[in-house]
Subunit: 458 residues, 2 copies
């Protein structure tokens, strides 16, 4: 049984695989911050070298931003050509004082819930990305070759809006086309139930800066008489939702479908524990639209969230300044056929309508992508689902996902390649937050899952 | 004419006096930031040494925070005992990138409007404080003695809420009592009209921090379902004013007097140029209560201003975080008989009432002082007004002031000493802002004004 030999090798090699991941996690490849540009490059070099060590023809490919890593390896004609996508960049780490250790000095930790790999990027997405590479490494060690023709495609800008991705895919479309694009950047349904994600929310990112006076003022001298841009910004932010939690941007709900009753029934059958989901983060009540379940809110309903707000003096102590500027970063999660560009226009018009005299606004664009829903009739879906079910305690589920992975849509629209989203993250991985971790079980069984999927598809 | 000799010496000594001020301005005595504690101490030492060089018995006096500087000098029995108050601490300097030069590398600059001393603290309050010391220096050089018994009292916590001031005044009340407390921390009415400020607004400083989830979350995973504390904070801030600019804190206007018609007539007679006042800072329309003039707003009406707001990711780029916390610093300027402690309670109750389930709030207290209105029937007022009128092109005015100088009320209530507020700052001094300056004319004629006042009172 060759699959068994591969799985046994994965088990035996787990300590070395973990060390390799820790090495990659030590590179602080924060893509959104220009200070870490050289580190992003270093992470790309690391991946190129690792792929080359597996006999893969890999190279760093320049972009106007951080480089892509692309690798190819040939395989038998009767097996499908698989592309594998992941990203080597990570989120910023602030607030740093909430981390228990240096986010870029990762380690394997024993916790009451089991062993975890702790560090920025452990789950999103370096740990996930390495599950696939480690599966290939074990396969190659046992067989001397890989089971099918493969393309590896890793980007370094996923956490900063992927500005180079679409142009790169368009320019290299022939090279990147494959039968399936396996994307490892999603999660399990829970620790027993693996998942293939077939619905993703879209994302519109907007930053607005309100300017009132042309300089910072003394609030004692000017307060009352001069307009305060924080007050203006707060009124705008407060107006984005009504009292029932609905988003008030005109036309926002155009194209939002009602959930298919069959899908709702399947979701209801998952036994999602709303109380535990919120309880894990210190909350008890869903905060969104009053007539929706928490699962419906995060998988199938659009949102508007302020991700950051800033204005005036925010240091220690007190400063009676009336600031010139105040700004906010706002993201909209989109579903169904919502049009991100129409919503951007409507949002900006709404903001401009709310500006008092003497105030101006500037907008910065942080990306716009439509929601994705994937056709699961391709045969790879059922095979992958069966392979996952063989590895984990319970059968795999087709699920939705609150996050946005715009690349899934790009594979479909630019390359005509159907995306297959399989990942092993957990809800408590604290991605984008302090103390990010990846369960050692996610890493281990993730590697084993890919070996099973390769076996099933080849 | 001995006054003429003193004035002539002030004119001759102006370059040296300016150099001394530049030396004091080079000490970054930011009281609100613990990183500058040693610098605050250094500024206090500098003042002690300078007072001692004038034969004044001066010493640094410890407090739980930054030290007081207290000096005494004896004088003839038939002249009043004058106390002089100023503060040696300064405001923080951010945003640093808006300064044209290092705020603590001050210099004398030629500008289209005349020569200015540029640097943090030039106007607020080191430059003002030095006008009085320089007047004493010139007097002493001509006469060998000072004209009256004097107490010098400088604090180093004025820009951070003066936490040590009241206890220190209470513990040293006998030592600090005098006939008049001259406070140099206010402004001219304009470049022709000097002023004695007889009305000051009070100040209530509040900081609130809203907590929703107990950790930062991924807005894609939790957005919509988990309450966002920035949204909650924005609703609270937005609700502090109604659409007509009135402040909505229950009971806020209790104790706010209508302006005395005679005083309103005097103010109307000042020919205050509302358009120029706002135009100087890039605005055109008063933003406060719709039925009040800008002068009324800043001198006689209470305000509520957000001085800082912060939550989530505020660095470069974008991060789809749903933060655990969001906070704001809010100051209220108070007038008449408004009770700062009652308003604090009412404000906090209003905030708590607006909290949704699952959210908590913490408050930090940044000081509370009542408004001040001073009795101008004491004879020193008229003498000082005449002396000021002799120095400046036009006659001096009794005016109000939008800022808060709590110490003025403390002199009255704790020591029974009537305060006399005379200063030479200008509206465009950019105190608390980048590029703070003090006109060389303010400094020069300020020193000359104090020499005249000393002559008139002694």
């Amino acid at each position: 049984m060759t699959l068994d030999a591969v799985l046994a090798r994965i088990d035996a090699d787990l300590p070395q695989a973990t060390d390799r991941l820790l090495e990659l996690l030590r590179i602080p490849s924060i893509s959104t911050d220009p200070a870490y540009k050289a580190d992003c490059d270093r992470a790309a070099n690391w991946l190129v070298a690792d792929l080359q060590s597996l006999g893969i023809d890999a190279a760093k490919r320049p972009t106007p931003g951080h480089p892509m890593v692309v690798g190819h390896v040939d395989g038998p004609d009767d097996a499908p050509h698989l592309l594998f996508y992941g990203h080597y960049d990570v989120q910023p780490v602030d607030p740093l004082d909430l981390w228990d250790r240096d986010p870029f000095d990762p380690e394997l930790q024993d916790t009451p819930k089991g062993r975890v790999i702790r560090g920025r990027g452990a789950s999103d997405d370096k740990g996930q990305l390495m599950t696939f590479i480690e599966a290939c490494r074990a396969w190659k060690a046992e067989h001397g070759t890989l089971p099918c023709r493969m393309t590896f495609f890793f980007e370094g800008e996923e956490e900063s809006g992927s500005p180079s991705l679409v142009p790169f895919m368009q320019e290299n479309a022939e090279e990147l086309k494959s039968d399936y694009a396996m994307i490892c950047d999603t999660g399990l349904f829970d620790s027993r139930v693996p998942a293939i994600t077939t619905m993703l929310r879209g994302l519109l990112g907007e930053e607005l800066t309100i300017t009132g006076p042309d300089k910072d003022l003394h609030s004692g001298m000017y307060g009352g008489a001069a307009i305060n841009p924080i007050r203006v910004l707060s009124r705008i932010v407060a107006a984005l939702h009504d009292d029932t939690g609905r988003i008030t941007v005109p036309g926002f709900y155009d194209g939002v479908p009602e959930l298919d009753p069959a899908l709702r029934a399947q979701w209801d059958g998952l036994g999602f524990d709303h109380g535990a989901f919120l309880g894990d983060v210190g909350l008890s009540q869903p905060a969104g639209e009053q007539d929706r379940s928490a699962l419906e809110m995060i998988w199938s309903r659009p949102t508007c969230e302020v991700n950051g707000i800033q204005g005036g003096y925010t240091g220690d102590g007190f400063k009676t300044v009336l600031p010139s500027k105040a700004s906010a970063k706002i993201s909209f999660r989109l579903v169904g056929d919502q049009d991100p560009l129409a919503i951007r226009d409507s949002f900006r018009a709404m903001v401009r309508d709310m500006l008092p005299p003497d105030c101006t606004v500037e907008f910065a664009d942080h990306g716009a992508s439509k929601a994705g829903q994937f056709d699961i009739s391709a045969p790879a879906y059922d095979k992958a689902r069966q392979a996952l079910s063989d590895e984990w305690p319970d059968a795999a589920a087709y699920i939705g996902c609150g996050g946005s992975i715009p690349i899934a849509g790009h594979f479909q629209s630019i390359l005509g390649t159907p995306p297959v989203l399989i990942g092993f993250g957990k809800d408590d991985d604290q991605i984008h937050s302090p103390n990010e971790k990846y369960d050692l079980e996610s890493f281990h069984k993730g590697i084993r899952s890919w070996a099973r999927i390769l076996d099933a598809l080849s």
